[in-house]
Symmetry: C2
Subunit: 187 residues, 2 copies
DNA sequence: AAATGCATGTAAGACGTTACATGATTTT
DNA sequence: AAAATCATGTAACGTCTTACATGCATTT
């Protein structure tokens, strides 16, 4: 065992490390592709940026969880990564662990709504309307992926379904709240 | 105008700055209370920690948006903060701005589900079950706040309603998916 | 007397985005 | 010829959590 390998049972995966290992497991093989795929598929519940991805790929390689080799396309540099055995088992250990999962939301629209008593009633309706517009955009984008996702692996398809359900619920709630508040304002 | 005041039109509020100004606007007046109130009310869509709150209160004071004065309870130190005029107008400017609002989610349960093709079907069901358990706990907690919130200001009440609707949608989706996957597994 | 709650605070480190730089290849 | 896409990378900065320390007051 080389000095760069760690006991995989001891490796504590970083958040971005988890996405990367998972993506490599799906056959995505460059930092660039990881970023694009994340943007297309997991963005609505999990984001990642180049500033995290590239350094993390190197850390994972130091830990012996992934291995990269140069595969230039013509004169264009390109590094293709694969899971090592240790990487695959670290991925499975994470997927199988029943540790409490993190679930955090940061919704500035809701925060503004929370404080909306500081303004007037018209402002509050505008606030909800803009949340709805935002969620409708996301919803449309998610729906556009559906036909393609239905043909692919089940995990990504399920999260797409859930994302759609959640955004539908948000849009529906906004519509109902707008109607309600408009009615109240007329009185 | 003292040298510590900034032109309020130029102040760029930090994320935590927004919560704090909003909370002071609701009459919450100490860092400690801000933290407790956030945990009780906005946590499901916006969190904050002491490590952010106390330093931010001092930055806001330097900027002239809040003013604090010592109001000890017996021998126990305590600083009560209030919005200044500049602070109140910065709060209103933020609430009224129609800039695109941030909406980010980070759901490790969904991420595991996304990658769940790496494991077996039983594992995937377990995954969804644990997401549901988690969401049911949050839902129960939100519902317990409802009677009290119904009597308070409308903004907090509306976000509570929305939070409940979203968590209900999540729980319902999980239930349906579990049934579906269990049926498939029997075949 | 101990435990819980009130109240403030900080240091260290983890995590993240943004903005920029570079250069090749492919498409328009 | 220009624009878009492929591909990698980093520096600076912003943000956040965790873990700890302190000490008084109130409740059990």
């Amino acid at each position: 065992m080389s000095s760069s390998d760690s006991d995989p049972a001891e490796v504590q995966l970083t958040p971005t490390g988890k996405v990367i290992l998972g993506m490599l497991g799906l056959g995505i093989s460059t930092g660039y592709d990881v970023k694009n795929f994340v943007d297309k598929t997991t963005r609505h519940f999990w984001a990642a940026s180049y500033g995290q991805i590239y350094p993390e790929l190197r850390r994972l390689e130091e830990q012996g969880l992934v291995s990269g080799r140069p595969e230039p396309t013509g004169g264009r540099a390109r590094t293709v990564y694969n899971l090592t055995d240790a990487g695959r088992s670290a991925l499975l250990r994470w997927l199988q662990s029943d540790a409490e999962t993190v679930n955090e939301a940061r919704d500035e629209g809701m925060l503004k709504l929370f404080f909306s008593d500081a303004g007037g009633p018209a402002e509050r309706i505008e606030n909800i309307r803009s949340m709805r517009a935002r969620d409708e955009r996301t919803l449309a984008q998610l729906r556009s992926l559906e036909p393609h996702a239905a043909a692919g692996p089940k995990g990504p398809y399920l999260t797409l379904q859930l994302g759609i359900a959640l955004h539908e619920a948000a849009v529906n709630w906004c519509e109902a709240a707008e109607r309600e508040l408009e009615k109240e304002e007329k009185e």
